[in-house]
Amino acid sequence: MAILLIAEHDENSLKEATARALSAARQMDPQVDILVAGEKCAAIARQAAALEGVRKVLLAEDAALAHQMAGPMSALVTPLMETYDALVAPATTTGRDIAPRIAALLDVMQISDVVAVQSPDTFVRPIYAGNALQTVRSKDVKKVLTIRTTAFPATAKSAQAAPVETIAVAEIPPGVRFVSQELNTSERPELTSARIVVSGGRGMGSTEAFAMLEELAARLGAAVGASRAAVDAGFVSNDLQVGQTGKIVAPELYMAFGISGAIQHLAGMKDSRIIVAVNKDEEAPIFQVADYGLVADLFKVLPELMEKLG
């Protein structure tokens, strides 16, 4: 038997989250099939087939699978699980939406946000906003996991493509109807896979100040992130929130401007390789995790940084 991995994509491209979750899956079992499901996604299936170590790709195309809604996706995947030992999905909002629904239909207790695979049934996952790491063994016959993608490297591409097999999609009853989507169309790299992230908090004070951060990000080829307070204040959109209940990032460099460093924020960025904090309060808890702390007014630091990084 083998593992089924649900591919993360937006019908335009296969997301790196897939290649990262694949690394985790391959640590459990070398036999991994990838499911690419959506309305029109044959091109995505070919991208998935090019990943190293993939046994085959299952391609499921149907209008009902557009936007990979949990209802149709669980109707598709649950019967497929008869021939697999484990279901793996990246812990993206899509994976988090779908996987528990399938787990319940399989009568399996899901293991969320896996950061390490110790054996095919034993996994490590963070709890309490990453303040503790729990090692759990699943007693269920089948396993359902979501993978914290920052904890695993992306699987490389292979010279030889795996076969793509088109699978039939049974009639899916109507349920939730997609109405519209408002996606952030920033030119910046994706937050969860960027090499550098520059983040702003409540201390930024305004949307205009975030424009400055955008500019710095453009110069560094970085993504822009934010604290919950900055999102709640309406300075930036929700998809930029980093933290326990937002996005988890682990870039080479994370620069925090005007962020105090609440545990819920740290949970989302403390695995970054280098952390820089700029805060005018020298007592701010963010300095406890910062490799380089600068006690200063961010409104002085940001322009100076931009000028000197040229």
Partner: protein, 249 residues
């Protein structure tokens, strides 16, 4: 319309959590416990629907130890009409909680169940989706806006790329995200009144639900600590260190 709101008693979000020396779990003795913040948002949303004349009754339910009664009293003080405590001494895993909730849904027939998107202790983020699966209901996760019009709900969801709007028929399971609303504080008179609101106590056995955990916790450890960093005195020093010491610029 009847709304069911599951609320979990968790360590307060301000508490700094420590792992027990024997690595069997986290230290919860003498720790301040509160309602899971996402569940406060769920209770608030239910109350707003009632205030808008769209709902008649709000039932709060919690699965856990006897102390979870306090969490239910908080929900009642906020504005829930009655509460159900399903007592168990077991660690409550999302699958087991979802099964208990299914049994409650069968008894109460709500049109809407609003849960938190995640409990901030186990950080599982599963229960709502599992309940929807077990009931065969549609689900709307991570919601930041909810409008009910007759038998139909229009929902905005926070997704990785931005915001998504969907519409779904009732009955429905929804899970709250942070920006759905700002929960109210219970006033003192309402806290007093809540003491007299009905609270029914059941057990998982009475509901005929097996809550035996499926996961065996082998150990719980502190995450590796970050080594202390340095203070830099100027932007020049920062750039220099990032270039020449850390090699990230």
């Amino acid at each position: 319309m009847k709304i069911l709101v599951p609320v979990k008693r968790v360590a307060d979000y301000n508490v700094r959590i420590h792992v027990k020396a024997d690595e069997t779990g986290v230290e919860l003795a003498n720790v301040k416990m509160s309602m899971n913040p996402f569940d406060e948002i769920a209770v608030e949303e239910a109350i707003r629907l009632k205030e808008a004349g769209k709902a008649e009754e709000i039932i709060a339910v919690s699965i856990g130890p006897g102390e979870a009664e306090q969490t239910l009293r908080t929900a009642l003080a906020m504005g829930a009409d009655r509460a159900i405590l399903v007592k168990t001494q077991q660690e409550t895993e999302p699958l087991a909680v979802a099964k208990v909730l299914r049994a409650i849904v069968k008894r109460e027939n709500p049109d809407l169940v609003i849960l938190g998107k995640q409990a901030i202790d186990d950080d599982c983020g599963q229960t709502g989706q599992m309940l929807a699966a077990l009931l065969g209901w549609p689900q709307a996760t991570f919601i930041s806006k909810l409008e009910i019009d007759g038998e139909q709900a229009t929902i905005t969801r926070e997704i990785d790329g931005g915001l998504q709007t969907i519409s779904a028929p009732l009955p429905l399971v929804a899970t709250t995200d942070l920006r759905l609303n700002e929960p109210r504080y219970a006033s003192l008179p309402n806290i007093m009144k809540a003491r007299r609101k009905p609270l029914e106590t059941l057990t998982a056995e009475e509901l005929d639900v097996d809550v035996t955990p499926r996961l065996e916790v082998l150990k719980v450890q502190e995450p590796p600590a970050r080594a202390g960093g340095v203070r830099v005195e100027s932007v020049d020093e920062l750039i220099d260190r990032l270039k020449n010491e850390a090699g990230v610029l």
